[in-house]
């Protein structure tokens, strides 16, 4: 009779992986990642608050499921170990490499946001209107010259357009970054200082003006003062 030979190194590795209970461990990693993304505030960078609860709930459910599976796990002939390795690696990468994408790059690939349904800023004094209020006002009026000379104080990040101009922008997000669309205002930056870098968050104080641009007469913010501000915890509007 043929005696079975010693197990190959490959089968030894596979059985070791099986003993490590890789699929439940992968789910545990995934659950920890979801909870960590919430506790570290990272969800605020990635999606609208309405979806945070779903992610937290899913993270906790994954923790319960994976711990239960770890407890009741038993030797099995086959496990989806390739899939489990991919899930573990992705979970670790998400924890180790937080999102540091360029909002400007993202915005350049998106059409302008439509602002229906957002609260209008008609009743607000000019200094209290934010960027979205201003863009909504300017888009909604047939006579933007009515706003010439009004004082303006808005915050946003610096968006470098495809033509190289530096606009002040904010992103509007309904669900997550995948559907982000930009709201932007052209800015004439002060001559006495270098224009801010792409993606830099700034507060711009100045006045609204109509200038002749390559797209015809357009509303432009004449900046008198530019102050760098820290990136907000949630860097988009919902």
């Amino acid at each position: 009779m043929n005696q079975p030979g010693p197990p190959s190194p490959w089968s030894r590795i596979r059985s070791a992986v099986a003993r490590w209970r890789l699929p439940p461990l992968a789910l545990l990693c995934c659950g920890v990642t979801l909870v960590q993304c919430w506790s570290s505030g990272r969800l605020q960078l990635l999606m609208a608050p309405a979806f945070h609860g779903l992610v937290i709930g899913a993270g906790l459910a994954l923790l319960v499921w994976s711990v239960t599976a770890l407890v009741v796990d038993q030797p099995r002939r086959s496990i989806p170990w390739r899939a489990a390795v991919l899930v573990v690696c992705t979970s670790l990468l998400i924890v180790l490499a937080p999102p540091r994408g360029s909002l400007s790059t993202l915005a350049r690939h998106r059409p302008p946001a439509r602002l229906d349904g957002l609260a209008a800023g008609f009743a607000l004094p000019p200094e209290q209107r934010d960027l979205v209020d201003w863009v909504r006002l300017l888009r909604g009026t047939p006579q933007p010259r009515l706003f010439r000379g009004e004082p303006i104080q808005v915050e946003g990040f610096v968006l470098v357009t495809a033509t190289g101009e530096r606009h002040l922008a904010q992103l509007l997000v309904r669900c997550c970054l995948a559907d982000a669309t930009p709201v932007q205002l052209a800015v004439q930056w002060p001559d006495d200082a270098p224009p801010p870098q792409q993606d830099q968050w700034v507060r711009v104080e100045g006045e609204m003006e109509l200038l002749n641009t390559s797209d015809g007469m357009q509303p432009v913010v004449i900046a008198h003062g530019v102050t760098a501000i820290p990136k907000p915890r949630q860097p988009f509007r919902t």
């Binding site: 990635l46 499921w65 489990a84 690939h109 998106r110 059409p111 997550c176």
Partner: protein
Amino acid sequence: MVLDHLSTSWSVFQALFLEAMPFLLIGVALAAMARHWLPAGPVLQCLPDHPLLGPLTGAAMGFALPACECGNVPVTRQLLASGSPLPTAMGFLFAAPVLNPIVLASTWAAFPDQPWLLWARPAAGLAMALLVATLLRLQQDAAILAPSLLRERGFHQPAGAGSLLERSAGLIGSAHPVPTSLPSAGRGKSWRLSVLHGADELVKLSSLLILGCAVAALLQTTLPRNWLLAVGQAPTLSVLALMLLAVVISVCSSVDAFLALGFASQVTPGALLAFLILGPVIDLKSLGLYGTVFCRSAMVFVGLSCGVLALLAGQWTNFLML
């Protein structure tokens, strides 16, 4: 510049993955519960196999499951594995992402001023599900289902139900070794097995979701969306462009109406409808998940069928409204 694109893609990837994962979890959990409590075979086999009643029943079942396409795929797979008739399962798979209360409510919330969309979206989605399910019903199970699913399904088919090819191939009524993770004796009885099998399935599907999100995120930060919308007012091109956008952007069907709101004024009504009925069914993110249900040729067939039907729906809408 390349690093800039990569790091932006990584952010979009994280957003897509973290947002889709809860829906996938809901779907797999429902599938695991169905496996544990639903007696496989007799009850599910009582569901209609009729080309019209089957998909309608599947769509009605989908109305009760407020999950997007990521959650529907594992449930559909479990339905098929447990012996559910193909038309019912396909009706569920293709109609549920459009015909569920959350999607309908979000469409209403996004387009209160366009009442035609409130009935056109579910009607077109249902019509698409009926037609695709009918086309798939014309094929043998062995020609469209993934081999692993076919094997699981074989355990719950009566010996006379399969084709001659399936019987002679030993897929039905044979002494196939039962998968170790799913012993038939323990099916529906051991919660431990349900927990373990569900964990394995969730890991497998998560890995496919990761690949889908990665492709979608890369394309999103590479393809300029303005380029797609530049053809917005050309009747046919706008429909095609929005169909491509729906496939690439891979956003959850429960919120895609808000996204569509962003460019509704720049495209034709038909393009808007095509975006809203194709995206929930076919997108890059869920492409890998479909691989657990369909074989490759069937995936191509499903993709093309849905694409052609969305195009026709868009064209017809443009014809009526422009």
